[in-house]
Symmetry: C2
Subunit: 151 residues, 2 copies
């Protein structure tokens, strides 16, 4: 995989029931990507890819996203060491979403910049609580201050 | 839950490590939502919610999205009968994504309009294959032609 172009979108039937990846990048060039732990199916994070990051993900087998805040390619774990090794790539029915299954690596084995295994570390404590209180469901695996350098 | 308004976004610290749901709806009023099977953690689908659909999801416990193609509230399963009963709602670190854990119900127990349990029924057969061939990973649970009426 060296190309950063992907097959053109063809017919709805081909997109939905065909056997070729034809990812739909939005008008901003991005496609949403859900990332799961390959072993446990825990959803680790949600981010975006552009064609270049998808191509790089496939060629390196390291999950590579597009950082909208920094406006640049983002090799997950390049700073923290918590690299995601890609084991599987899926797409949905209309091929406008990607799903990665990864082996989360690194000393802390954490996906979230806040030091948690998954970014989804809080849930509504009670679905009927109008105060919308969140409950933490996980322990921190690292202290962000010791992992990320101040810039 | 009757309100269709949610708490205002406060500080980054409160959003990322606080205990109140402060969902970020984009400039289009929408927030992405990942939906998982509560029992197996399989990712079933990906869709969007607006404030009204999130409020309705919480009040009815039936996953209710915003259909961008039809530009209206979309009670999942209202036509096919494959309703999703909400068991848990999570958010991510910066609260701009939601994660639902649901019990998928209905005769076919399928999330996808193409008749599959999950919308993510295809994977790349080989991550190194430049032809980007997809492999089906699931069997169809229903025939869409018999479930959805032509309109």
């Amino acid at each position: 995989m060296s190309a950063t172009t992907f097959p053109p979108r063809t017919t709805s039937a081909e997109i939905e029931l065909g056997k070729t990846l034809q990812p739909k990048f939005g008008s901003d060039g991005l496609i949403p990507c859900i990332t799961q732990d390959v072993a446990t199916s825990q959803v680790l994070m949600f981010a975006f890819m552009n064609a270049e990051s998808l191509a790089k993900t496939l060629s390196t087998k390291k999950a590579t996203y597009w950082s909208r805040s920094r406006n640049k390619l983002w090799v997950k774990g390049e700073e923290s060491g918590n690299v995601q090794l890609v084991r599987e790539l899926r797409t949905d029915c209309d091929q406008d979403v990607l799903l990665l299954k990864v082996e989360q690596t690194g000393a802390a084995n954490a996906s979230c910049h806040n030091g948690y295994k998954s970014c989804f570390y809080r849930k509504l404590a009670d679905l009927d609580d109008a105060a919308l209180k969140l409950q933490f469901t996980a322990e921190r695996l690292f202290d962000p201050a010791t992992v990320y350098k101040k810039k």
